[in-house]
Symmetry: C2
Subunit: 317 residues, 2 copies
């Protein structure tokens, strides 16, 4: 089968990659659509030391097991595979299992291929009214929703999302559903065009006042964006780190301590609410699609996704 494979020699398109064999409890899934995420770009740069098939945002059709209820179902899937035995798995789920593998990120081949495997326990059926181009946003939208699992967002709060990128615009839309005063901040006016079209308030991050926001979401993944976000959050406010950061960065600890700021790392989120919001049309995702490539043009797709200002690039096998 075709697969976008990250090996020691870098990223390559393989045409003869072996089709994965589902293990007990796993489904074989034929890919319908996949999405490229900033984490995929970081993985290629060496983040997490992953070698294997990339990709963790997908929608597909279950081919095996052919018995039972799953055959032929159109599904999305959560990406963490835990041991299912440790206290973390039993108490909180697989997201923080120390033995976990992660689809297309750690120890488990991903979705940028004709076929992938996942435990059926990870799968959710996609409602008919959510088509493939929309369903492929389930994983990043769930990640955006994770913020609402972690902190109570008061409807009267002042919110800023720093970074109007592919993840930032999902976060902003999800948080705007609270009724909060929310502004999307970017460094370039051009990057604010789409959020404005989506009906979001926008502004240049450099012009935003210091200490002005109750909740700031850092969605740039770079050190400058982090410094800007920390500048913007008010004393006793909350700063959410929502992007993949590769390694260490310098943080202004004086502001953090004197301002009693709360920083919260945030990763994977709940799929079922994401599917409900996609089904209801409460979050616009189609305007984020900036390109579409077949698997064999995967390298071109990744290069396109890496360009500044580009939002979602899809792989359409």
């Amino acid at each position: 089968m075709r697969a976008l494979y990250l090996g020691p020699e870098g990223l390559v398109v393989r045409r003869d990659h072996p089709r994965p064999a589902p293990r007990e409890g796993e489904a074989l899934i034929r890919l319908l659509r996949a999405g490229i995420c900033s984490t995929d770009l970081e993985l290629v740069k060496g983040y997490a030391g992953f070698h294997g098939v990339l990709g963790h945002e997908f929608v597909g059709v279950v081919e095996e097991p052919t018995g039972g209820d799953w055959a032929g179902k159109r599904v999305v899937g959560t990406i963490n595979l835990g041991c299912r035995r440790c206290p973390t798995c039993i108490g909180d789920g697989p997201e923080h299992c120390p033995e976990r593998t992660v689809l297309g990120i750690a120890g488990h081949d991903g979705a940028f291929a004709d076929y992938l495997t996942l435990p059926v326990a990870n799968l959710l059926v996609v409602p008919d009214e959510v088509d493939d181009d929309v369903a492929v946003f389930t994983e990043p939208l769930a990640a955006a929703l994770r913020i609402r699992d972690q902190v109570a967002v008061e409807p009267s709060a002042r919110l800023a999302v720093v970074g109007p990128g592919r993840l930032g615009l999902l976060i902003a839309q999800v948080l705007a559903l609270t009724g909060s005063r929310l502004v999307v901040l970017g460094r370039r006016a051009a990057s604010l065009e789409l959020p404005r079209q989506l009906g979001l308030q926008v502004g240049l991050s450099t012009e935003a006042p210091a200490d002005a926001f109750d909740l700031v979401v850092e969605a740039t993944g770079n050190e400058a964006g982090l410094a800007e976000s920390l500048r913007l959050v008010r004393p006793c406010g909350t700063l959410i780190l929502k992007s993949t950061f590769h390694g260490a960065a310098t943080v202004d600890l004086t502001k953090l301590v004197v301002g009693e700021v709360r920083i919260v790392g945030s990763r994977c989120g709940p799929f079922a609410p994401a599917l409900r919001l996609l089904a209801s049309g409460s979050v616009a995702v189609r305007p984020l699609i900036d390109g579409r490539y077949p698997l064999e043009r995967g390298l071109e797709a990744m290069a396109h996704a890496a360009r500044p200002g580009v939002r979602k690039i899809l792989l359409d096998p």
Copy 2:
């Protein structure tokens, strides 16, 4: 009067510093005892750019106003002086007022002198059963209690306090009162002698397992201690930054985001509960006293406080 003064030329003992004149609403307080804090040591190194009389941990006697209820009262005092008009002051108190001054730290002469001034609104009467050597710990004990304002500490949680210093041992004692499994971690066995004598569990930080603690309090104030603390906190756990950090430091953002760690900056805390705990004898502070100097030997006192392993140095005018 005598005063320990930090000027552009560094720290000096002045014998003819003018006695401060209380402004409207302020009391003139004669010093009975003061304590040296790590923040004082940082201020001398240039933190916050403060010039003036140092000192913010004190107990004293009100000399003026001579009318009203305050004359002759033995008092401690909160250290933030807000504008009392802004939404922050009205809603949350003066601790985060953007116009605030801070006793001995920012824009208001401090307590390392024969006399100091503070608004009477900042004062609390010290109960008779709390003597001066104990009462002088009210401010740092309140700072330790601030943690319990900010996060719910479950009695069944696993807690670590990193840094068995003058502040760390107050934090550890306060948190141990929750009934939690708490360990005080240090880098040198000698530093763990006192916490062991205080009945606290102790361990070497380098030997403590990664990801093992629900709540970690960073009380070293240095970058190595911060890195160690972040290593120790479990996924979805909380890391409290309780020390004065001067400027920026490098932080492992991958652990922060992937582990969904919560970092909370923590500063000044509630005085009334601190006085109650001192009055009840629930927190041992006398064993922390490592030295005592008159004001004119203030430079010697500061040098003593800066030595590794030294806990509280008092100024006894």
